[in-house]
Amino acid sequence: MTEPRSFIHIHESELRELRYTFYLVRKSPLTLVGLILLVFSLFFAITAPYVAPYPTDIEFGVHLERRLEAPSLTHPFGTDDLGRDILSRVLYGFRISLTVGLVVVAIAATIGVFLGAMAGYAGGVVDEAIMRITDIFLSVPSLVLALAIAASLGPSLTNAMIAISLVWWPWYARLVRGQTLSLRELDFVEAARSIGVSTYKILLRHIIPNCIAPIIVQGSLDVGYAILTAASLGFLGVGAQPPAAEWGLMVSYGRLFFPSWWWVATFPGLAIFIGVLGFNLLGDGLRDILDPRLRR
């Protein structure tokens, strides 16, 4: 008799928490816009090959008979110099950019969180060594460094992703180290140590889960920046290579036809804008929502 009741109790309190989260999201319209943009991007990233009006145009379709057509009902975003439907390519670009953003953040966060937690928890020489390496990475402008790494690895989308991840982890390392420094002094960490829990387990179970909120915020902001950086690398020629439907590459390519055939560069550019804006708004909103001081 008591058990089902307490089960319902837990269920209710969790439901209340969830409802409160929705309330906070609704209260901040910009977060809602970010969320909508994100859902929109995710939808196209998943369904691009099926909803694109001309799926064969995404990479290799060449239709010289309709090259550089202005936006119309049949081709809402116009066509490029090979006659490919720009709308189809832009939609497919969501898949590429989102993949880049998420993979880059996942790799960077994994490296950064691991090194940051180690540095913060171990202190001393380990801390100094890791943080000075971090400083070296941070002292070079990130785009320049990414450009250098990507160029030396050879221009391709995969290498661009590796390059951006290598440039980005120091931010996570710093963030997590700071958190760890304050967390390791807390009683429950000392209690865990006094009860014989190993260092590895303390990091994994006690330190890292307690820094997850700032990591999520930083991560969601960074997906946007990673998309932007990948597009920049594509634009500069060391990222995705033709005929990939990558936004940066498409803008760079469309530059040749600007301004007379403005649509070739403009629509991919707008797509970059929407993708980055969505993640930034969401990240800002999440920071407010996850801030415990705002809760109640």
Binding site: F188, E190, V197, S198, H206
Partner: protein, 329 residues
């Protein structure tokens, strides 16, 4: 081998910018099997440092400079960090003052309890779970099964302290150190927790070192009591003889400063002065600058513990002329 835990001549130093703090200046303490020993003293006199040194968990920049801590005949200070980890939790474990900050807020009670159990015992997930429920039942936590799925903030303070006790006892340690386990709790809950600890001790035959600054708690629960001042044990003995016939001037002062419930209210006794700065502790007896009965010898020599009654020892020159010194009470 009467004592399960023996602390001999323990010196702990904290190396700070301002100088070396002599937090413990030669502590001698023995914990007998199945007894509950109270360790009382003012804030900052070294009670917690003493407890943490047994686990070798002294926070930076503290160092154990000298001494010997033997548990069941094994010197803990000679063990490697790896061997020490096997001791912590399974042979010696600790309950902390504030159950709120001693539990990880992002893990459920069950996850934390199971972590401790599986760290020291090779059990399957199912056995460990049954074990956890069983322990929570022993500490009288209502509804142990659903409690495993709860987060610390969903429990009351008293319940959280019960969980902490469950974690500390989960691997059946032979020594339990309770560092002010009831300070953060309400008086009624305090009584419940103390009774629980006392009951569990009777059942599990654990030896308990209870650290507190509340003499009332000691009087109610402990078999023996040790009084600490400025990093040294000044008096130790049976609760009744120490509390009723205190010998050391510091103990006398400490007991006089406790408010009593009575009709006529004499002014509270107080000990003049403050705790000495342990970077440069007073010469001789560390209590001499505040002692009303100070003699010349107190400034020159450090007093040793001498027996003044059956099992009742004190470190004071007022008694040393007619008694022989005792090595480790």
């Amino acid at each position: 081998m009467e004592n399960i835990l023996d602390i001999e001549d323990l010196h702990v130093h904290f190396h700070t910018y301002e100088g070396t703090v002599h937090a413990l200046g030669g502590v001698n303490l023995g914990l007998r099997r199945r007894e509950m020993l109270g360790l009382v003293g003012e804030t900052g006199c070294g009670k917690s440092v003493c407890a943490l040194s047994v686990l070798r968990c002294i926070p930076e920049p503290g160092r154990i400079a000298r001494g010997r801590i033997s548990l069941d005949g094994e010197n803990l200070l000679e063990k490697t960090e790896e061997e020490m980890r096997a001791v912590r939790g399974s042979k010696v474990s600790m309950i902390f003052q504030d159950p709120t900050s001693s539990l990880n807020p992002v893990l459920t009670v069950g996850e934390q309890l199971l972590d401790v159990i599986t760290t020291h015992q090779p059990l399957s997930a199912k056995e460990a779970r049954e074990n956890a429920v069983e322990i929570l039942r022993t500490v009288m936590l209502p509804d142990p099964e659903p409690a495993l799925k709860k987060y610390p903030h969903q429990l009351s303070r008293g319940m959280r302290q019960r969980v902490m006790i469950a974690m500390a006892l989960s691997c059946k340690p032979s020594v339990l150190i309770a560092d002010e386990p009831t300070t953060a709790l309400d008086v009624t809950v305090q009584a419940q927790i103390l009774h629980l600890i006392k009951d569990l001790q009777a059942k599990t035959e654990t030896s308990i070192l209870l650290i507190t600054h509340d003499v009332g708690v000691v009087a109610e629960t402990c078999d023996r009591v040790a009084v600490m001042y400025a990093g040294k044990i000044v008096e130790i003995g049976d609760v009744i003889s120490v509390l009723e016939r205190p010998k050391h001037p510091y103990t006398v002062g400490l007991l006089d400063s406790i408010p009593k419930v009575q009709k006529e209210k004499p002014p509270l006794g107080l000990i003049k002065g403050t705790l000495p700065n342990l970077i440069d502790p007073p010469s001789g007896c560390r209590f001499h600058p505040r002692c009303a009965q100070v003699m010349d010898v107190c400034r020159a020599k450090e007093p040793e513990l001498v027996e003044v009654g059956r099992g009742h020892c004190t470190a004071c020159f007022l008694y040393s002329h007619r008694n022989s010194s005792v090595k480790n009470p």
